[in-house]
């Protein structure tokens, strides 16, 4: 075979291209990671501070952005009737996160759309109309999480959540976590979602 092939067909040329493309892409990724982190830290522009659980929140179509958007209303709605400062809110939400991991929720549910597909997405679970009204929601969620077999919500499919031994405090943590998660700006995901109490807004 003729070894005098053009530059673009030589091993050495592609070796250099591989090195530069990889290094270049990685540098761009690092730069974007710093920028993303600054925006998704709790209390940043896209992920609210944990004390947002003291407020009434909803999810609405934003005409300017032409997509759905979480809305934090200027109205107090303390979780379980108790206003929490940022540290207390963090502790409750942290308990929720640890419980969600320890109970392996993500291998049935999706959170922010990631996980398994055996059970509903939890991104906006706090705002789901399945809880009836916001007045009954907290009690129903507490009851369900602690005894999912007895208070099963299977919509006729018989697909029940297993008994995971979730304590009352852990259930409160999960609920706080779900409320906080529903306020994250997810670029319009999920689309076309009608929030609880939507007709009141």
């Amino acid at each position: 075979m003729n070894e005098n092939h053009p530059v673009w067909a030589s091993e050495n040329f592609w070796k250099k291209v591989a090195v530069w493309v990889t290094a270049g892409s990685f540098v761009v990724l690092i730069f974007l990671t710093f920028d993303s982190m600054s925006q998704i830290t709790a209390g940043g522009s896209r992920v609210p501070a944990y004390s947002v659980i003291n407020k009434k929140v909803t999810y609405r179509f934003d005409k300017n952005k032409n997509r759905y958007q979480p809305v934090i209303l200027d109205q107090d709605e303390p979780l379980f009737g108790q206003m929490l400062d940022e540290k207390q809110a963090y502790e409750l939400i942290n308990l929720g996160k640890l419980t969600i991991q320890a109970k392996n929720c993500m291998n049935c549910h999706t959170l922010l759309g990631n996980g398994a597909y055996y059970a509903p997405d939890l991104t906006k679970a706090w705002l789901d109309q399945g809880w009836g009204t916001s007045a009954s929601r907290e009690a129903l969620m507490l009851q369900f999480l602690q005894n999912p077999e007895k208070y099963a919500r299977t919509y006729g499919t018989n697909r029940k959540m297993p008994q995971l031994g979730i304590t009352e405090q852990e259930a409160k943590g999960i609920i706080a976590y779900l409320k906080w998660m529903s306020t994250i700006d997810t670029n319009g995901f999920p689309h076309n979602f009608a929030a609880i109490d939507a007709e009141e807004d």
Partner: protein, 489 residues
């Protein structure tokens, strides 16, 4: 010349398994391949259990729930593929470097440490299952993050074992000779091990959690794993067909450039909906749409090289699985990924059975196939280099049937899951707006249930294929009288 011909002058009644012809690395590779194959069967078994629960929700309810079965299903997969990769690299390390492996004893210890750790992790998954909402549960039982559920103590063990493996690869090439394949492989292993650390911390904030979680998952399976199999593929083409090193290495560099050029920023297609900024919609959409290109390159060059060498090879099962890899990688990772990668469609498909459809074909097509090819290379050498083709004493029916059943089974599951995904995207997402009511409306729709039934049928087919593959690997070549000609380049 290519290496394929058979030597009928050697006649043996039976060929018992023998390690005599294997070098040190290859002996160690056999350990890895054995565990990989056992875990592959476990993956299929727990997949069947989880699939069955879609059709019969009461099946094993409160005993082995879906989350446990699904976790074992995907973890067994990740781990058997890693075992396969490590085994494959140990398989060719001494040939490629020209010297004996530097820390073979250390490698053996690392194998046993990893295997004991994996056994304990699986037993805890099955017997303990979940813990209370404390960091202790995450350290000892289950991290609860899809794909990297292994508790933190096991993470540390995995990193330690990977460091031993990396040391063996880097130090052996340093002592012997470096090549293009060796260089790419060594750098890729640094990235692969380093990225795992990005998944080893706990944070309350789910957006930050998923940001780094995707560094591990995406930058493994859509970047560093792809480059790893590129290296394995390059070596395989030289071994199986006698392709010239200069050609495979040039292609390898092209693939690395295209793979990392598209895959590193293609990471952004996981950052559409997790709270991350809007610019990821553009960056992730654009770069991930380019991700199929290197996979096209892999198909083109493997098929072209095969044609140039007239498909002449000494190991037909291995070669057939290599070709299955080239196409499976392109269709499963490339086409099935591309179909739902743009944010305009992903808004509706994200978190539906589309992802499961893509996942099944991609992991099988890109990674299961090439590992199976190496299992055949290994058993050939253990059968004293017997001829392996379509005209073996039993017509090679087992390897052919296993190949057909596994490929048809996975493709069947992929199509069934895709139909379920379409249905979910329309009914749950577009029409019902992703509410819980919408989710269950989609799950109880006849189209969904039919799709899940067909998935089960093809799942059983895949399982039978897996069992047949296992049986074939234990028996192929046992009564083959002919010896394959030694490969030459």
């Amino acid at each position: 010349m290519s290496s394929q011909a058979i030597n009928s002058s050697v006649t043996l009644a039976t060929r018992p398994f023998s390690m005599d012809k294997l070098n040190g690395g290859q002996k160690l590779a056999i350990h890895y391949f054995t565990v990989a194959m056992i875990l592959f069967i476990a993956q299929l078994l727990f997949g069947l259990l989880a699939g069955m629960q879609y059709l019969m929700p009461d099946f094993l309810y409160n005993t082995l729930d879906f989350n446990v079965n699904r976790m074992v299903h995907i973890n067994a997969m990740i781990v058997w593929m890693l075992y396969g990769f490590i085994g494959s690299i140990y398989w060719f390390l001494e040939d490629e470097s020209g010297v004996e492996i530097v820390g073979l004893k250390l490698g053996k210890i690392a194998f046993w440490v990893l295997t004991v750790a994996v056994t304990i992790v699986v037993l805890v998954y099955l017997l303990v299952q979940t813990g209370s909402g404390t960091e202790r549960s995450i350290w000892l039982i289950n991290e609860g993050r899809e794909y990297i559920e292994a508790p933190r103590w096991a993470d540390i063990g995995i990193v330690a074992v990977m460091l031993v493996f990396f040391y063996n690869v880097a130090a052996t090439f340093s002592k012997g000779k470096w090549s293009g394949i060796a260089g790419v492989l060594t750098l890729d292993l640094i990235a692969l091990a380093g990225l795992y650390i990005a998944g080893m911390f706990y944070t309350t904030n789910i957006s930050v959690d998923q940001y780094w979680w995707w560094w591990v998952i995406h930058l493994w399976v859509e970047a560093t794993w792809e480059v790893l199999v590129g290296c394995i593929m390059a070596w395989s083409l030289m071994t199986l067909l006698g392709v010239r090193r200069k050609i495979v290495q040039t292609w390898l560099y092209i693939e690395v450039a295209l793979m990392f050029g598209s895959g590193i920023l293609g990471l952004g297609h996981h950052y559409f909906w997790i709270g991350t900024p809007e610019y990821w919609l553009t960056i992730g959409g654009f770069f991930s749409a380019l991700e199929p290109i290197p996979l096209v390159a892999m198909v083109v060059h493997s098929i072209y090289d095969s044609g140039v060498h007239h498909f002449k090879t000494r190991n037909h099962p291995a070669f057939a699985w290599i070709i299955a890899h080239a196409f499976g990688n392109f269709f499963g990772a490339g086409v099935w990924g591309f179909m739902h990668t743009l944010p305009q469609i992903n808004l509706y498909t994200h978190g539906t059975q589309w992802s499961a459809s893509h996942g099944h074909l991609a992991f099988f097509g890109a990674y299961a196939t090439i590992n199976i090819a190496f299992f055949y290379l290994a058993v050939q050498k253990m059968r004293d280099d017997c001829w392996m083709g379509g005209n073996m004493p039993d017509n090679g029916w087992k390897w052919k049937a296993a190949m057909v059943l596994l490929n048809l089974g996975v493709v069947g599951m992929t199509v069934a899951l895709l139909i379920a995904g379409y249905e979910q995207s329309f009914i749950e997402r577009a029409v019902e707006g992703s509410s819980w009511g919408g989710y269950f409306a989609a799950q109880s729709h006849p189209w969904f249930i039919q799709a899940m039934t067909w998935r089960m049928v093809f799942g059983v087919m895949t399982f039978i294929g897996g069992i047949l593959l296992f049986w074939d690997l234990l028996t192929i070549g046992k009564t083959e009288p002919r010896t394959a000609e030694v490969a030459s380049q």
